[in-house]
């Protein structure tokens, strides 16, 4: 129960976190093109929050072992992975269309941590990603790949759909489109 609460608080705060950052980030972008004074104002008002949260394995482990009726769609991707970038809009579409359901999308970036600020953050802003984005800073992937799913080779993209309360899970080591995602989600969510 305690764990569920923590996860709920965590996911909501992350959600709020990423949504909060969407508008200042956008404002920032406009400011860069137009008025540089405005940009400075923005920064001084509020420290520039990153649209992406750097996490350790424990964050993902909590999510995997939570006991919640929220269905999590955890997508492993990277900015340099072509097929991953291609399917990101489908996850965004899912995020919008299932906003009223207990569905949470977590896009877990496998980009190197040193690329976070110069590559991943601008990418998220450019793509206007609204889903929660994590960057998993755990280079020793051999220690955790099997814990996501034993069938996963480590190739990207990979997607885990999980509902811990109803003990349902589906894992895909391949590209997905909106139809296949929505179809798969049908086994988890009544809509």
């Amino acid at each position: 129960m305690k764990n569920t609460l923590i996860i709920c608080i965590l996911s909501f705060s992350v959600q709020a976190f990423s949504q909060n950052t969407a508008s200042p980030a956008k404002g920032d972008f406009i400011a860069v093109a137009g008025n540089s004074v405005k940009k400075e104002k923005n920064i001084s008002l509020k420290p520039k929050a990153s649209a992406i949260l750097e996490v350790k394995w424990s964050a993902l482990e909590k999510l995997l072992n939570s006991n919640t009726d929220t269905t999590y769609i955890v997508n492993f991707w990277a900015t340099w992975c072509g097929p991953c970038v291609e399917e990101l809009p489908y996850f965004e579409q899912l995020n919008r269309n299932f906003a009223s359901q207990k569905v949470r999308i977590v896009l877990v970036s496998m980009d190197f941590v040193q690329d976070k600020d110069k590559r991943v953050v601008p990418f998220i802003e450019h793509m206007k990603i609204k889903s929660t984005v994590w960057l998993l800073n755990e280079p020793d992937a051999n220690s955790w790949i099997d814990r996501v799913d034993p069938s996963w080779s480590g190739a990207l993209p990979a997607t885990l759909i999980l509902n811990t309360k109803s003990k349902k899970r589906a894992f895909y080591e391949k590209s997905l489109n909106y139809e296949s995602l929505a179809h798969a989600l049908g086994y988890f969510v009544e809509y």
């Binding site: 492993f76 990277a78 340099w80 992975c81 097929p83 496998m110 190197f112 941590v113 040193q114 280079p139 020793d140 992937a141 051999n142 220690s143 790949i145 099997d146 799913d149 069938s151 996963w152 080779s153 480590g154 190739a155 990207l156 993209p157 759909i161 109803s166 003990k167 349902k168 899970r169 589906a170 894992f171 895909y172 080591e173 391949k174 798969a184 086994y187």
Partner: protein, 213 residues
């Protein structure tokens, strides 16, 4: 009957069965044919960057070979480039050279065109054989699915057997913070006549984009 039992089990574990089925559908031939630890590797013959040909059997006078599937467009492969060179420098003289195989489809990845690779090889002074598997037959035979992926092969009287499959070490991002050197440990053990302790590892990598069959 067996089939129904399987379906039931599948239903019981929720979507587990669906996952497995879809996994099999994406790579039908690989699951059954891929090399596993202890398997003997069939000879292969591939083009080198300078127009020559290299076969696995050319290394019959060596103690073994470290085959590394890699490419030129993948950040993980790039991160390991220097370490691949270091492995070759360390072990080639001891009879365990590195052989790099690039299974990228140059139609998908401009960076993996042979001209581009040849330029890099000259520029960076690759000392190991760099083979082009543009038909992807060798990668398929091995069951490689991402880059970089290493296979340590032991040579016993001209027969090469798989002793290790996986990543080079436990930290692609930062060579200074590597704590487990899987390939190095495997080769060191083999050179000492000892069995390999960790025989398989997994790693995040760039999926090999297969040409349409």
């Amino acid at each position: 009957m067996k089939k129904y039992a399987l379906i039931l089990v599948g239903l019981l574990v929720g979507l587990g069965a669906v996952t497995t089925a879809s996994g099999l559908l994406t790579q039908p031939a690989l699951a059954a044919d891929e090399y596993r630890i202890g398997d003997a590797v069939k000879n292969f013959r591939l083009k080198t960057l300078n127009g020559g040909m290299v076969s696995l059997s050319d290394f019959s006078d060596q103690k073994g070979v470290i085959i590394i599937f890699t490419c030129n467009h993948c950040p993980f492969s790039k991160a390991y480039e220097a370490r691949i060179g270091a492995l070759h420098r360390k072990f080639a003289a001891e009879g365990f050279p590195v052989v790099v195989v690039n299974p990228s489809d140059p139609k998908t990845h401009e960076d993996d065109k042979i001209e581009q690779l040849s330029f890099l090889a000259r520029d960076k002074g690759y000392t190991y054989p760099y083979l082009v598997d543009d038909t992807q037959t060798v990668a398929r035979a091995f069951g490689a699915n991402r880059t970089p992926q290493a296979y340590v092969l032991k040579n016993t009287g001209g027969t090469f057997t798989v002793q290790y499959i996986g990543t080079l070490d436990d930290n692609p991002q930062d060579p200074a913070n590597v704590t487990k050197r899987y390939v190095e440990d495997a080769v060191t053990n083999l050179l000492a006549g000892k069995p390999v302790v960790i025989t398989t590892t997994k790693a995040i990598g760039c999926a090999i984009k297969w040409k349409d069959a």
